[in-house]
Every structure is written in structure tokens, then in C-alpha cells.
């Protein structure tokens, strides 16, 4: 399960769904918004607020509730490197919302586009 900002733990998945603006790919796991969007950034897709998680909140597995990110089909690669993690941010609030490793690291080349499958973000309930 990914790191989730306290804002999501306090206000729920609906707050994350409404606020998040960008998905970044990163060369290392970002600890902060700045690391996600600059220091470790290799590319990004700007969805705009409300569109990073387009589908409704759904039942999580094995428990809780979850959101799914939109698949990225035309992300912009801004630097050549090996993407090992992705992150979700809210740019207006300078907030790192989600940080998670990719299912498999992928090499990316500056100037190209990147694709990323949908990923889920889950708040668990009893049962983990």
C-alpha cells in the first residue's frame, strides 16, 4: 500500500479525489512534494484537479475503500533515467498525496512520452 498524506487520512478518499492534479514518475521514492515534482522527477502528466482519480470511490480488497488512478497514456518524460516510483501531488497546495513504487522499474528517455497503468490507493478497514 502506498504512502498517503495525512490530509487523506483525516478527510478521506473524497478529498484526495477532488484535489489531486498530477502524476509524476520518479527516479527514487520522494519524501516531499519538492522531491516528487523536481528533485527526483523524470516526467509527469497534468490531469487537473478531479481527474487523477476519475472513477467513483469503490470497495477495497481485502477491505476498506479505494480509488484508482487514471491510466497515463501520454505522460511527458522530462529527463532520461530509470523510473522506480510514481507519486501523486496536488500542485496548488504543494502537497505530496501518494508515493508508491512502480510494479516494475522502467527506463525513460527525455522528450518521449510514458504510459502508466491504473494504480489503486486504498484505505483499509478491519482485515488489513
Amino acid at each position: 500500500m502506498a504512502f498517503l498524506n495525512d490530509n487523506t487520512l483525516d478527510n478521506g478518499l473524497a478529498a484526495l479525489k477532488a484535489a489531486a492534479t498530477h502524476i509524476y514518475i520518479n527516479s527514487a521514492e520522494p519524501a516531499t512534494y519538492t522531491a516528487a515534482t523536481s528533485t527526483n522527477a523524470l516526467g509527469n502528466k497534468n490531469f487537473g484537479a478531479g481527474a487523477v482519480f476519475p472513477a467513483a470511490i469503490a470497495a477495497g480488497s481485502p477491505s476498506g475503500r479505494q480509488l484508482a488512478t487514471a491510466a497515463v497514456t501520454d505522460g511527458s518524460v522530462t529527463a532520461t533515467g530509470t523510473a522506480t516510483h510514481y507519486s501523486v501531488v496536488t500542485s496548488g497546495s504543494s502537497r505530496l498525496e501518494v508515493a508508491q513504487s512502480l510494479s516494475a522499474s522502467q527506463g525513460v528517455t527525455s522528450g518521449n512520452t510514458f504510459t502508466l497503468g491504473s494504480a489503486t490507493v486504498r484505505l483499509p478497514n478491519v482485515g488489513g
Binding site: 500500500m1 502506498a2 504512502f3 495525512d6 487520512l9 527516479s27 527514487a28 521514492e29 519524501a31 516531499t32 512534494y33 519538492t34 522531491a35 523536481s38 528533485t39 522530462t78 529527463a79 532520461t80 533515467g81 530509470t82 522506480t84 516510483h85 497546495s93 504543494s94 502537497r95 508515493a99 508508491q100 513504487s101 510494479s103 516494475a104 522499474s105 528517455t109 527525455s110 522528450g111 497503468g117 488489513g128
Partner: protein, 145 residues
Amino acid sequence: MANFTRNGSLIQIGDDDTIGSKRIEPGPVKKTAKATKELLSNDVTADHYFAGQRQIGEDADGNPIMHTGVDADGRTIEEGAEINYLDWLGHQRGEEGCSCFYLYQLRERTAAEKKALEIEGPSTVWAEVGQFPTEDEAISAALAL
């Protein structure tokens, strides 16, 4: 006089476009430890640190999509080997020694960086300068830069 702004937990001294501007943000400390079962348990480290692989779904042909556990630097986690991890749990719990304030400074990328990253033209980066135990210490360090 430098322009101080606060947006949520991020403090910026200067602006987004001026070389030399600084940013301070709280975050989890990055630690190094041996990847034992205890360390990798969800009571100690975040769930996304695990050894081996987990199935996270299926592709269009019904084949399993596997997720390989990696550390904070993207290296495959092998039980018994050293890993680097961000102490998210300690940070969110407010435990001592698990949180810090990261200091960044906006600078031009070097020619060597641009060559390695295959970036053409002008390029800037918020480069990490240091980590400090308190916000006040980070601000003092930022003002001394």
C-alpha cells in the same frame, strides 16, 4: 528582504523562478537497515516495502501482473540485505528521530547533469541541500546559504 511564503507545510524563501530560492518541507527520515522480517512488517515500515513479488492484478490475457518489492532507491529488496527506506510510519506517528525538515535550493543543472539526463537548453532543479531536525534549524540554514 527575501520573500517568505508558506503553502501548507512547505516554506519557500524566494520564488519558483529565481536561482538561489529555497524550500523547506517536513518529511520522513531516510534510514538504512537490514531487511529482516521484523523490519518489513507493517508495524515497522510502510506496506510498500516487501521482499519478493506480489500479484496486483491481471492483464488482458488473464496473466498475473506482479509487483516487485523495491526500496526507496528502487533497488530490489532481498531479505537479509541492506535497504534504504523512508520511515513513513514513524513520521506519521510523530516518533522521535523519524521526521526531519528537508532543505532545497533552486539551481541550474550542471552540464554533466544535463548530459546524463539528456536535457537540452536551460534547466533548473530544486536540489536537496540538507536535512534538519527542526524547522527553525532548517530556516537558519536556508538563510545562511
